[in-house]
């Protein structure tokens, strides 16, 4: 009995430690400028929603003391992140699924080497790739375009999409397609009518993972786009420093809006997290 209780308490302590930074982020987002800058940090304070208002409204003080209210650029940044993430995810999942099917079902010369070449593209530090990509994008006019980031994130997610979709397709018995082939379906029709309906849940999980990766990406966005197109992580990190220091309360509110979809997605994905983080190697 005592042991059961001590384990419960230990679990609660672990949970508290891991969630504390996020709890602190929520508190910070509800604080006023003054409460954020106080030392020691305040646990009890008068909450304000002003920081969340700044998510959509931009309040600037002119030199002669007037206050000007205009639209904030953050919703646009979220939109850019969403569009770039969605298009690159679509490309990665569609192309990745097609390749995964080929790798799963056909005899391909050098298959092992090809698969590991694809995986190895994910091992490269982004900084190693970003220098030549910067020059190449400048030359072909893809720098500072939505399309440039879409292509990049699609390529970046490709290794993941191929590997995890292959692990899902490997689980579907070949006999289903062979039966379809015997019934006079072509290979492509068998793929569309037999395999595709069965991999929907897996493809959906893969898409959410790809979306999160693109949504979270910072290094390529910083180097290749900066503020055109402005994506949400870049906007949050480069929130303007005010005369009274970094506006951490504003950064916290923007971060909550930005991170919340990922937290929800994590719960949706909970059954697939293990497979997801190991590229389908561990199921």
């Amino acid at each position: 009995m005592l042991k059961a209780w001590s384990i419960r308490i230990a679990v609660l302590v672990v949970l508290a430690v891991f969630l504390f930074p996020l709890y602190w982020m929520v508190l910070t987002s509800l604080k006023s400028r003054i409460d954020v800058g106080t030392s020691p940090p305040q646990f009890v304070f008068k909450p304000t929603a002003a920081n969340y208002a700044k998510v959509v409204r931009k309040v600037t003080r002119t030199y002669d003391g007037r206050v000007e209210v205009g639209p904030s650029d953050f919703p646009g940044a979220l939109c850019n992140s969403l569009v770039i993430g969605a298009l690159s995810t679509l490309a990665a999942v569609v192309l990745g699924t097609l390749s995964a099917y080929a790798f799963s079902r056909f005899r391909i010369p050098g298959k092992g080497d090809l698969l590991f070449f694809i995986l190895s593209t994910r091992m490269l530090p982004p900084v190693v790739i970003v220098v030549p990509v910067y020059a190449m994008y400048t030359a072909v006019g893809l720098r500072q375009t939505h399309l440039g980031l879409v292509i990049l994130y699609a390529a970046f997610n490709m290794s993941f999409a191929v590997w995890i979709m292959k692990s899902f397709i490997d689980e579907i018995p070949r006999e289903f397609e062979e039966a379809a082939l015997c019934d006079g379906y072509s290979r492509w029709q068998a793929f569309c009518k037999v395999v595709v309906p069965q991999i929907y849940p897996g493809a959906a999980a893969t898409a959410i993972f790809c979306m999160i990766t693109a949504w979270n990406e910072y290094v390529f966005a910083m180097v290749l786009a900066a503020d055109t197109p402005l994506v949400a992580p870049y906007r949050i990190v480069n929130t303007q420093v005010t005369t009274s220091g970094t506006a951490f309360e504003e950064i916290a509110a923007l971060s909550i809006v930005f991170l919340l979809p990922v937290v929800i997605a994590t719960f949706l994905l909970r059954k697939h997290l293990l497979r997801g983080v190991t590229f389908g190697i561990v199921k």
Binding site: Y101, V262, V282
Partner: protein
Amino acid sequence: MPQRRFRSLSDDRLKFLLIAPTLALLLFIVIYPLIRSLVWSFTDYGIGSNAAVHYVGLRNYSKVLSDGNTWLRFQTTGKVVVLAVALEFMVGFGIALLLNRHMRGRGVITTLILVPMMLCPAVVGMFWRYIFDANCGVANGLLVIMGFERVEWLSKPGPALVAALVVDVWMWSPFVMLISLAGLSAIPKYLYEAAEVDRASAWFKFRHITLPLVAPLLIVALLFRTVDTFKLFDMVWILTYEGEPLMISAQIYKDAFRARDTAVACATAYIVLVIVIAVSNIFIRYLNRVQLKD
């Protein structure tokens, strides 16, 4: 009767068509840029400069390899990788042992602990900047409550390294926990029951049942974490106001885009590439073995 439009498409043609777009994209985004940067690493090219580019042979490589600064960055990288991965294993495996039992709400608790791993590293780094703020940060607040001195976390190399490790361990211990839990829950109960009959000690059970059976999965986690920590850049770069601990990725970034010494950055990048390929190869060989067992 199904349509026979694609009948003419043989399996051989089809499999080529299925794989070609993926490989084309990777050639365009990965292989071609890597060839370009290999060429640059033998020149005096600088990004954004219009000056004529000259072939300089191995000068960049000898510069990088004889430069004390680069060596220091590699040492910092090594230190961060070893410390972060070791801590993540202790914390992650410890939590997995704690959670590997029947309890109410286990699924929710596990998922909640996994949340940090899914978040944007840059945004995480930005917010931890506030937590580690010397004046109004909650880290120093807690230290003061416990009767310790304030620490200048982010402006001094030693404390900044500790801060970076704390954030990385917070983010990535859950990854080790997730994989360890999968390994632990797959161990058949009867092994422990048999050991119980033989009156084996808890340590004996851990050493001779738990560890050997979880080891293959732990090695998968180890390799993923090693490669990922080696790549670590944006979280630390933002957390520490672009200061120490400066890892090799940060050095490449600074050389390429701040110092406009792109050729030197490319040469350093190639040295990193050789290391990453070597480590990945160990990884890949091991994965090949694991996959064959399935």
